[in-house]
Symmetry: C2
Subunit: 762 residues, 2 copies
């Protein structure tokens, strides 16, 4: 249960709030309540200076490498929200002893953030400083702050409100800008330009609310920044309201129009906060309508966290762009340097596939742009085809740091093995392509992008496997599966099955591709490759359950010792504490998982094994999993829900709900867990409501938790809204009836579709 955050409803919206200022939670809450519209994301840092936070503004796809020794990372942009308030010379901050009360509240339904701070000042005076902040869903560049200064008691002779555009921002000690230049247009618009090698950030701001009696605002330059100061007096009971409109544009070319940005901002400022807020809410509602949900019987917390997950999913999507994807932390922090992992395809993309299929398409096109990098990586490791990077950034090339931090004592660099040995990401992309095409029937996507990716990834797997003369089968050696606590293993079940799936799909697609895209087939010489693919499928080793029904995670896993006292690490308030007691080498020699591995396989091919085998394996592996990755609980929950193991599913779902919204202050400080957001949603929609869409058939096979009475979800199937309502006993599907355009619906057990598809000898 969550103690630190309170959840309440107001005007039919859910709010999540903090009712006191706790330095320990500062950075965490900044991530959780970050405002993101897919184009930009801003951490929910106080506008007043504060000690323990981490100011951060990020723009989708804006990456930069500061030095050859540093990694390419999501750039922390100049800060437009900071401002300073002094009351008769006293500087105000949430850290200051004058703070009397503090509230920070976030509404995941309206994507709005509000602060209220009351300061008790000398002379029994009380000043309230409030802020409502939003990042507009109507205008992707726009950040709004409505600021109120109100005297609750006593008069204030001189209040100074200083708004800053601050280009001294950095990513943990690394500043990315080669130059920052500031000016003021028309004595109204502050402008900051920050130069990177290729892009220039153009940040503008207008502050409204100045009155004639305040005198003109005072602009001042400081290094890499500019400020605007307004001085005012305030009588007891009086309130003054200011509006700060900021606009962030990434200029790729000099010609990108700053004039237009300025006029747009001026126009916004003229229209005022209420108008802009309405417009923001309207556009957000348009998005939400495509993923509406209602759960009868759900607790307030469950509803809040589902709303929270949906908000973050909408906030991390770079809408209508194909040049970037979704970072593992969305736009809420600098964790993993803003890189893109398999999280996107496997955990996040399913939400978009069922509600915003055109955006899934964009995310997959981003991967298509990464083909060049994937081919390079394959060549570098002497494989065929396309070997997708474990982490990617702007151009889709491998961005995994080659070395993690030095060994603190020996000074030797620790290689990051995932970049070298964790290869399943390509297969995950193929899985996502298959899912997207299956749901949309989008052949044009296949012709333009899909075939090429699938064939090249299949080619990689064929070259990756080697012949084992003892087994007389093809094996995949020295690899890392999803579980990152076992780094150098042979025949990871997840990886082997996924590789087989890729090659099988390639062969399947090849038939149509030969007609639909003969040039691609010719270029990739698929004719010559085909026999190799078929041979691979015949020979690839696919682990089967042993006499106890357990699928071996890899060749040696089941023979290892168990980790004594795993509970200690599962319950520790900080993740990965096991690494304090054991070396990585020791951990590799034990039956201990960081995260779902074989369970992921059960998850993605839910009917590949019998429900009994699934259940046994989920239990077996779960007992050995520390869940030190945010990808873990939701995977277990989904796997269990799919086979109707409601109680287990429920337990894991509860845990996954608290991946971010928990009382562990160090969690999420560098960003929310994007995959968990997708996982929570998928568990509700695909797990409990049992919804899937495949081969033109909408399948609904619900396993609701006992206390849920019903779930209603609006899907977007092939461009049309479809309302699915399930209870414990009934399934109701409503589609807009258009003549000759019917939706096939199957109820119960229909996830067998995927089994048929894989159709491998077991």
């Amino acid at each position: 249960m969550v103690d630190h955050y309170t959840i309440f409803e107001q005007d039919n919206h859910i709010w999540i709030g903090e009712s006191s200022y706790d330095p320990a939670f500062e950075a965490k809450t900044e991530s959780l309540f970050a405002l993101c519209n897919g184009n930009i994301g801003i951490r929910s840092v106080s506008m007043l200076p504060s000690l323990y936070g981490k100011r951060g503004l990020y723009a989708s796809g804006l990456f930069h490498q500061a030095h050859p020794s540093e990694v390419t990372e999501l750039v922390n942009c100049p800060d437009p929200v900071e401002c300073r308030v002094t009351a008769d010379g006293i500087k105000l901050s949430p850290d200051s002893p004058w703070l009397e009360s503090y509230r920070r509240e976030f509404c995941p339904d309206t994507a709005e953030l509000r602060f209220s701070m009351i300061f008790g000042l000398p002379g029994k005076r009380r000043l309230e400083v409030r802020e409502t902040r939003l990042v507009s869903f109507a205008n992707a560049r726009l950040i709004l702050q409505k600021i109120s200064l109100k005297s609750l008691a006593g008069d204030f002779e001189r209040l100074e409100l200083t708004s800053l555009l601050n280009g001294q921002s950095m990513n943990e000690g690394v500043s990315h800008f080669s130059e920052v230049i500031c000016r003021v247009y028309d004595r109204e618009v502050m402008h900051l330009e920050a130069r990177l090698e290729e892009e220039t950030l153009s940040l503008m701001q207008i502050c409204c609310g100045n009155r004639e009696e305040d005198g003109p605002p005072l602009y001042a330059l400081f290094r890499r920044g500019i400020s605007e100061q307004t001085a005012l007096s305030l009588k007891e009971g009086e309130e003054r309201i200011f509006l700060r409109c900021s606009s962030l544009m990434v200029r790729k070319r000099r010609e990108d129009n700053i004039y237009e940005q300025r006029e747009e901002l001026k126009d916004a400022a003229r229209k005022g906060f209420d108008f802009l807020q309405e417009k923001h809410r309207y556009f957000l509602r348009m998005h939400q309508k495509r993923c509406e949900y209602r759960i009868e019987g759900a607790t307030l917390e469950e509803r809040a966290i589902l709303s929270f997950a949906r908000y973050h999913l909408l906030g991390m999507m770079p809408w209508n762009r194909t040049d970037c994807s979704i970072a593992s932390k969305g736009l809420t922090g600098e964790g993993y340097r803003g890189h893109v992992f398999w999280d996107t395809e496997i955990f996040i993309l399913p939400f978009f596939s069922l509600h915003f299929a055109e955006q899934s398409r964009n995310l997959l096109i981003y991967r298509y742009h990464g083909l060049a990098g994937a081919r390079e990586k394959a060549e570098q490791f002497r494989y065929q085809g396309a070997m997708y990077p474990w982490e990617s950034a702007a151009d889709g090339r491998e961005e995994t740091p080659r070395y993690a931090a030095l060994n603190i004592h020996t000074g030797k660099a620790n290689p990051v093995w995932s970049g070298l040995k964790e290869h399943h990401v390509g297969a995950d992309i193929v899985y996502a392509i298959r899912q997207y095409v299956d749901e949309t029937g989008d052949r044009s996507f296949l012709k333009e992008y899909g075939y090429e990716m699938v064939f090249e990834i299949a080619a990689f797997w064929v070259s990756r496997a080697v012949w084992d003369p003892d087994r007389k089968q093809r094996v995949i050696l020295d690899i890392i599966g999803p579980d990152e606590y076992t780094e150098h293993i042979d025949n990871n079940a997840y990886t082997n099955y996924m590789a087989a799936f890729c090659v099988k799909l390639a062969l399947e697609y090849l038939k149509e591709a030969e007609k639909e895209a003969p040039d691609i087939c010719r270029r990739l010489k698929t004719e010559q490759q085909k026999t190799g693919w078929e041979q691979f499928l015949r020979e690839i080793y696919l682990p089967v359950p042993n006499e106890d029904g357990i699928i071996p995670q890899d060749d040696t896993f089941l023979g290892k010792e168990e980790l004594p006292d795993i509970r200690k690490y599962r319950e520790a308030p900080v993740r990965q504490t096991v690494l304090r007691d054991y070396s990585r080498k020791q951990i590799e020699e034990m039956q201990v998982l960081k995260q779902a591995d074989t369970v992921m396989l059960l998850n993605m091919f839910p009917t590949l094994f019998t429900p009994e085998v699934v259940k046994k394996n989920v239990r077996y592996y779960e007992a050995r999993t520390i869940h030190d990755s945010s990808l873990s609980y939701c995977a277990h929950a989904l796997a269990c829900a799919a086979i109707g193991e409601k109680k287990l599913a429920w337990k894991y779902f509860q845990n996954s709900l608290h991946i971010d919204l928990n009382d562990r202050a160090p969690d999420s400080v560098d960003g929310i867990h994007g995959a968990a957001m997708g996982g929570i949603w998928n568990c509700m929609e695909q797990g409990f409501a049992g919804i899937s869409f495949s081969g033109g058939v909408l399948s609904v096979n619900p396993h609701l938790p006992d206390h849920w009475k019903s779930v209603e979800v609006t899907l977007q199937v092939q461009g049309k809204p479809v309302l699915v309502k399930v209870t414990h006993t009934e399934v109701e599907v409503t589609t807009p009836t258009t003549e000759g355009d019917e939706l096939a619906v199957a109820v119960g057990g229909t996830q067998a579709v995927l089994k048929d598809h894989l159709n491998l000898p077991l």
Copy 2:
């Protein structure tokens, strides 16, 4: 009078203290109480995180340019003093509401800083956190912190003390390091290496005080940094003391020995705080003995500020190095980017000349290394000889930013005229050379360095002046003198006289140089230049007092309007407020000075004019001076003292005492005013005590302020200590008597020496 700082004596030492935490003064006090030993300087920032400070550690001569668009600047090095203390989960900071009392105190006599903070925590518990900090005068790399944690009331279950080496340091948003690498040696020494293009900073730290019951310290890496955490419990009344020893080394070459640095640090840590403190004090005393002083009748404040000035002078000198000089802010802040100005030669060097002549020599050799850059600059501007840069850094090349900030509204760049038009710095260097040689008789310096500089600077001036056919004299047009509020003037009196002085000295030196350093004369073709120099001296226009006795500051100054209401700007709590009401162009058209200009001339050649003329001019120009430069009051004080204008001298001296130690919170935030430190000392020693040394004769011509009974000063004259004691009526000079080695002493009026020397037709 100073209200914010309290001054008191303890154990025969003077202390300057703050007795409460005031965010407004945070950055200022950090500069004032900065600990500097000439090699490194560290701002007196709280070891606990704080909101309003500016952490800074600087190493003499360590400059870097981060980007072509940024200026070369003194690098803010990784921070070794920061640490974090949490008491049962509560993070402590001076900003936190738990702070009950706060003291920060600095002893300029022992160069030690101490903090005491008491936190009142939940459960009626009180924790005292104390720190004594010093930067060793015994070991130039060493920073020491003695940290005490004491429970004044209640028990603490878990106190965490986390020591950081933090390489995320930056200069106002600019990080200089291309790479930062951390490790731990022998589970004891934390090590951080920060790479610049040419140098590498090696920062090491040992923390002692851990007990067995605390368990081993926990080391952790973070980006660009490393930390060491100790957890302990504390019963009521119990105190725990920790010692942090840090060592900063600048490695110019890979071979610079890190092993040695580590062993030295280990050795220091073993010896313990008391031993290291004693050693530090001993070495500091050795320096102080060469500039001992005693003033009977002086107020506590006067004594404190003189001690403060002497401390900072000793702290800013890069002892025994010739590769760097003294920044205008010493090593206390980033003002003027750590650049070297004429401040060093004219305001700071006189102190060293009378007490540490060998260090003056080093500072002048730094200028010799800058000859290449000065020749380049002359060539660039099509002049002859050496044109010294207005601002210089590591290699002595011109570092003045070409453009100041953009005009905030038009977006056009404002050129920095001082780099282009303020040319007197070369003449100031010649003046300092003359002073050094005159005091030491060091012919070898002249042969190796001095002649070449003097001849090249003289050559510059000869080429700089042009023939005025109307005046039938040589004139120096379109120049900036010391007063920077008049930017484009002709025949600045100070500059013209100084130019004449240079050429005259060159001619004088030439006679001996032809014998002592014929190769230099040959190389510089002095034989050919000589006639030109003589002609220049005959023809140069040197302004004389008008009928009212006023020397015109330049050709047009006396004909301009006066600035109405100059008082407003003189009394403003912030400097340069005149620029808010008037444009630079408007200011140029008025009789208003930023700082001493003609008064500087009177100061440097005190007997060039009659005392009546001096008095008139000081009064005339002072009334028109805003004193917006820290170089101004001390110049006026010294000029007045020299002519026996005791009251005026006293008034300006008082003002100069408060250049840093005042109640104006925005002053000094980016570093102390180095020139003012020299100015204060010079005024006491050369002004009031009337001490000067020239041509082998020690002159003493005291004009003590009425309330001072006597001044005793220890000089170092030609390698021997000389004690001078003056009262209102007597002068007493004590020298160690060595046979055949006598000191000529003249009492009263002897500053005529300089007049004789200049000997120009007036």
